[in-house]
């Protein structure tokens, strides 16, 4: 019995964690390319979920077309945001970058609210729900599917960074902007790609959340949950985001399962502070040593 509960908690924790990982990867991509922390990542999620709701729920597209349209729409938003808001601020201090994405999050939230209203929406689920027996415990099919989808996507992303031209250009820019420029890499292009990718991964996570927890404003809070994930994994590491997502997801799930009084809401942040005190660059982040 006990091991059943443990397995269920593990599966649900991992599936939450993989969603975190997807959001975190978008975060990391932007940070790698431009050293910007994107506080609007939660709103990108929200946008993705509501776009999917609009295409599939309101316009009645079949889900495959709807998902494609959502991803395209998300990419457009990413590109627009980069062009209008971020590009004029290249080279500004950290605080400006943080504040502009915060302003952006407020604006995006208002747009979503204005278009779709504040009430939760009923989403026509297309990820099959139901329960299966898995390693002797009963777990939701959707949970397992989410883990699978996220795993596939994250693998693709990792391969993207290893083997494609844009992926390598992104790593080059993260390493040294000037050197990358002198090798003929267009920083503007790479930044645009980074923001589009961040919006797309967030939209995928948004669609998954729409299926599993429904379309509502609570989705935004996932955006804040991503901070412990990326700090634990390292702000500039894609594998770190995946591992961090898994660890934080599991931690939350176990805390929720084995303790009471909502401790799981705060445990990730305690982990965050501990990580910052012990290893500020996270598990896999690039170590920057500077002594004063």
């Amino acid at each position: 019995m006990n091991s059943d509960v443990f397995l269920q908690l593990t599966v649900s924790g991992l599936s939450n964690g993989m969603v975190y990982a997807l959001v975190a990867v978008g975060f990391v991509v932007i940070f790698k390319a431009s050293d910007v922390i994107n506080f609007a990542q939660g709103e990108f999620l929200l946008f993705g979920a509501y776009l999917a709701f609009a295409f599939i729920g309101q316009f009645g597209f079949p889900w495959s077309v709807g998902v494609l349209a959502t991803l395209l729409g998300a990419a457009m938003i990413g590109l627009i945001v980069e062009r209008l808001v971020l590009r004029p601020l290249i080279g500004e201090p950290v605080i400006s970058m943080i504040m502009v994405t915060i302003g952006l999050s407020s604006l995006l939230r208002a747009v979503v609210n204005g278009i779709w209203g504040a009430r939760p929406k009923a989403f026509p689920n297309f990820i099959p729900s139901g329960e299966v027996e898995f390693l002797g415990a009963v777990v939701g099919i959707d949970r397992l599917l989410v883990i699978a989808i996220a795993a596939i996507l994250l693998t693709i992303l990792t391969l993207f960074f290893r083997h494609t031209r844009d992926g390598i250009a992104m790593r080059a820019i993260a390493d040294d902007q000037q050197a990358a420029l002198s090798m003929g890499i267009s920083i503007k292009r790479v930044l645009a790609v980074a923001w589009a990718m961040a919006a797309i991964t967030a939209a995928v996570a948004g669609i998954i959340l729409a299926n599993t927890v429904g379309v509502s404003h609570d989705i935004i809070f996932i955006g804040l949950r991503v901070f412990p994930v990326v700090i634990l994994g390292g702000l500039d590491s894609v594998p770190g985001a995946i591992v961090g997502g898994g660890v934080i997801g599991l931690l939350e799930s176990y805390t929720a399962g084995y303790t009471t009084s909502g401790l799981e809401l705060v445990v990730p942040y305690i982990v965050l502070i501990l990580v910052l005190m012990i290893r500020p660059y996270g598990l896999f982040g690039k170590e920057i040593i500077e002594r004063v």
């Binding site: 950290v94 605080i95 943080i98 504040m99 609210n113 204005g114 909502g262 305690i270 005190m277 500077e290």
Partner: protein, 347 residues
């Protein structure tokens, strides 16, 4: 025209307000502050009080973010410590408000020291994230420590009394707030002409260089955290006694964000900017509200989208200021002053 003004003694050269026009403006400001409550209706008084509280908080945040360069997303948490600290001292221990408010500010300063400890190793983004975590943890403690704070229930603070008179009316509290806000502004303005203030600015501009010229970087960072949170706690405590009710919803991450917006829009590292920013961020939703109400008859749907418009305009204002005038309202105000100072002979 200001050409040909020379100071013949150090006293007048070092005065806070040196130029005749500055003195005139300061005088006008003081007269305006005295006359205002005689003319204003309770609605405007209420707004003015909110602005005063926000100004105190924004100056506190500006000390940390604008002058010392340590980004903090924990403003809401510090205000919560101040508000709950002062409220609980009054409710549980019957401490009168004029003692509990400063006591709460001191408590908040200590909390600020604790939150400032990570700044030994962290800076920039990482420190911002650490303060974000502190914000979340304080929110959790406030809403879950039922025995102390009453959890999600509101804490009702008895009306502050001075010489037998209830002070928490808009008209009376205005005077408390104006005096405190002016004192805080004066304190901060002088602080940045002192050794401490200059050390903070040195740390902001280049911490390694500051250390090389003998500034104790960590010590001064901690001092900045303590001073900043003292003022922030002060504004939180004042808010508690002004509203007579303390609820955790007033101190969420949204509050931290709106205070950051104040100092960004007003101008980082300026005292006047803190005031301008606080004024704009307090007045903006109020103005949109009024606009929405006046449209109620012609466009009844306006009321339903009002909160979203407020939210959207808030975000848009932040973005526009950062893109178009990163130095904020204080810079705009300076431009106006410079224009008129040499007018009509601008060269």
């Amino acid at each position: 025209m200001e050409s040909g003004i020379f100071f013949s003694d150090y006293r007048s050269d070092m005065a806070l307000r040196r130029m005749p026009l500055q003195k005139v403006r300061t005088g006008l400001l003081l007269v305006g502050l005295v006359v205002f409550p005689l003319l204003a209706n309770p609605y405007w008084l209420n707004l003015a009080n909110q602005i005063a509280i926000a100004t105190i908080g924004a100056i506190g945040l500006n000390i940390l973010v604008g002058y010392t360069g340590q980004i903090s997303l924990g403003q809401g948490a510090f205000m919560a410590v101040g508000a709950y600290g002062s409220g609980l001292l009054t409710v549980r221990l019957d401490v009168p408000f004029y003692l509990s408010i400063p006591a709460a500010a001191v408590i908040t300063a200590v909390a600020g020291l604790v939150v400032g400890l990570p700044s030994l190793r962290l800076k920039g983004l990482y420190l911002a994230v650490a303060t974000l975590a502190a914000q979340q943890i304080v929110e959790f403690v406030v809403t879950h420590w039922d025995g102390l704070t009453g959890g999600t229930e509101a804490l009702v603070v008895p009306a502050p009394e001075l010489f037998g008179a209830r002070m928490n009316t808009d008209g009376r509290f205005y005077w408390i707030l104006v005096v405190v806000a002016l004192a805080v502004a004066l304190f901060a303005a002088n602080l940045f002409r002192s050794r401490v203030g200059r050390a903070w600015v040195a740390i902001r501009d280049q911490d390694i260089a500051a250390s090389a010229i003998g500034v104790n970087v960590f010590g001064y960072k901690l001092l900045a955290f303590a001073t900043s949170s003292f003022l922030v706690g002060l504004s939180g405590a004042l808010l508690a006694h002004y509203r007579s009710i303390v609820t955790w919803e007033r101190f969420t991450i949204e509050v931290s964000i709106s205070y950051l917006a104040m100092i960004i829009i007003g101008g980082l590292g300026t005292i006047s900017g803190s005031f301008f920013g606080a004024t704009l961020i307090v007045l903006l939703p109020a103005m949109i509200n009024t606009l929405g109400r006046s449209l109620q008859d012609t466009a009844p749907w306006a009321a339903t989208v009002l909160p979203y418009v407020q939210q959207g305009v808030f975000g848009l204002v932040i973005i526009l200021f950062l893109v178009l005038e990163p130095e904020g309202l204080a810079k705009l105000w300076r431009n106006v002053k410079d224009y008129f100072r040499v007018w009509p002979f601008s060269y």
